[in-house]
């Protein structure tokens, strides 16, 4: 990490303690989205487009406030709106900023066959390297959050970078910077987790949201984007946030046992036929004379 260059371990001819020695810096970054204070203004959507150099393109209007049905290859940040009717008949507008979750155990990375097309940095950012992407779309099969999107023009797959270019320069992601209500926060994972838990407790204790909680799904090892939800027991209400996301079992089976069984099988097959040839040799046609003489010719 770039910060490591400014951290001091030893100083020559120095009396007294070394400033910063034994420092334990947490590199893990995290974005906190507090859905309870989001007003759906979409400033984060615009900031994302601006920073990443995309222009707004034609979209599908489905009679809600939502900009488009789901994120697109050139639209990585989308607020999902859900007009939720509560048990007492009252209405609640649930808004959740949808983007790449930057999983600790990323399904896209597990499924990707192209050398170095997806990398996970020590700070938790999972980033696509488009130069190495071959456009196979396996990441789309591995992701439990419907995030990687294929660009028909570039023939490659794109998604949110968590503003890796900004974060590596000590800046916060563009969406965070644009948020006017402070519902978006950015910091270390432990800081954000603490802040989220505090907010959830506040919602439970003071605002009557008994099921308020933090969404940091353990099935994918935790995520680099966490949510505070009014109703953490029903995450699917928030634009289809999966209840228990994990790398698809079949993708795991394919990459671990099946691949080794297959490799072993192919090796055994090739060696096997070779040994067979050494042991038994070719099939010999004894006499190249037929047993029954044909009379045609």
């Amino acid at each position: 990490m770039s910060q490591a260059a400014t951290e001091i371990v030893r100083i020559s001819g120095h009396s007294g303690t070394v400033p910063g020695a034994g420092l334990n810096r947490e590199y893990q970054v995290c974005k906190l989205v507090d859905t309870t204070t989001c007003i759906g203004c979409k400033a984060c959507e615009v900031a994302c487009l601006e920073w990443n150099g995309y222009t707004f393109t034609q979209t599908t209007f489905d009679n809600t406030y939502q900009t488009m049905p789901e994120t697109a290859w050139n639209y990585w940040n989308l607020i999902k709106f859900n007009e939720h009717e509560r048990e007492d008949g009252s209405m609640m507008l649930l808004m959740r900023k949808d983007q790449c979750m930057h999983c600790a155990d990323p399904g896209c990375l597990a499924a990707c066959p192209a050398d170095a097309a997806i990398v996970q940095y020590a700070n938790g950012i999972v980033d696509f390297q488009e130069a190495n992407c071959i456009g196979c779309g396996y990441c789309m099969s591995g992701c439990p959050f419907n995030i990687p999107k294929f660009s028909p023009k570039a023939r490659k797959v794109f998604k949110c970078t968590l503003c890796n270019d900004r974060v590596s320069q000590g800046l916060e992601p563009a969406c965070i910077k644009a948020c006017p209500t402070g519902c978006l926060h950015f910091g270390t994972k432990s800081e954000m987790k603490e802040l989220a838990e505090t907010r959830a407790a506040q919602l439970r204790d003071n605002s009557g949201y008994r099921d308020a909680g933090v969404y940091d799904p353990p099935g994918v090892g935790g995520t680099g984007v966490i949510y505070v939800l009014h109703d953490a027991k029903h995450p699917e209400l928030y634009g289809g946030l999966p209840r228990d996301p994990h790398v698809p079992v079949l993708v795991q089976l394919w990459k671990k046992p099946l691949r080794w069984i297959g490799n072993l099988g192919m090796l055994v097959g090739v060696v096997g036929v070779f040994i067979h040839y050494l042991r038994f040799g070719p099939k010999v046609v004894k006499a190249d004379e037929p047993k029954t003489e044909g009379e045609g010719i």
């Binding site: 069984i261 490799n263 097959g269 036929v273 038994f280 070719p282 037929p290 010719i297």
Partner: protein, 219 residues
């Protein structure tokens, strides 16, 4: 001269027609490409194959199209051979003595028709796995058209594609070994089309005898 179409001069027998050979190699060449490019995506240790084949992007673009060519060839083979690949009562006895076949004790084998049960297995194996590879391959080809509420189809397709690939590799290894090293004359039969009379009688006795009988009746 009343030439028999199958019993050729100089003790040769026509085993595969031009059409059969052409379709076989249409399948063969496309399968070899599919195998090599598929292996590149199968494991990082073999990703270099994609580099040799023009880069990962090119390989990913071409792989599905070769799959279409392969499946067209398989469909043509189905039309051409399906009837001859049907089960016959003697197949059971042939499989029962597969050990003798492996040990090259061919005199202990029940006589085979134009295609022996092993070849039938190859044919149906490639057909069934080919159809599954095509269906799962369509999902992998255009995953962006699989709507999110059907997203479970994507990992299923990934897995089915890998499993069926392995089955075809097993068939392919045996097929290539038998067609080139193990059965002398077999490779020539699918290139030039003809085999010796001894070969025909040895490997496909029932078929050869039928050719002889047909030849007599034709006269």
């Amino acid at each position: 001269m009343n030439r028999d179409p199958y019993l050729l001069p100089n003790g040769r027998v026509l085993r595969y027609s031009f059409r059969e050979r052409l379709i076989h190699w249409m399948a063969g060449v496309s399968y070899v490409y599919l195998l090599l490019s598929g292996l590149a995506f199968w494991t990082p240790w073999l990703f270099w194959i994609a580099v040799v084949l023009g880069g990962g992007t090119v390989t990913r673009e071409l792989h599905p199209w070769f799959g279409v060519v392969f499946m067209v060839a398989v469909a043509l083979m189905y039309g051409m051979w399906a009837r001859q690949m049907g089960k016959t009562p003697s197949d059971k006895a042939w499989w029962a003595s597969i050990g003798s076949y492996i040990r090259n004790e061919d005199d202990k084998m029940p006589s085979a028709d134009r295609f022996n049960p092993g070849q039938k297995l190859l044919f149906w194996g490639f057909l069934v796995n080919g159809v599954l590879l095509l269906l799962s391959g369509l999902v992998l080809w255009l995953p962006q058209y699989i709507p999110w509420n059907l997203h479970l189809v994507r990992p299923i397709a990934v897995f089915v594609h890998a499993v069926c690939f392995l089955f075809t590799v097993a068939l392919f290894i045996i097929h290539v070994y038998m067609g080139t090293a193990m059965e002398r004359g077999a490779f020539g039969s699918v290139i030039r089309g003809d085999v010796s009379r001894g070969w025909a009688d040895h490997h496909h006795h029932s078929w050869y005898q039928q050719l002889l009988r047909n030849s007599t009746t034709r006269k």
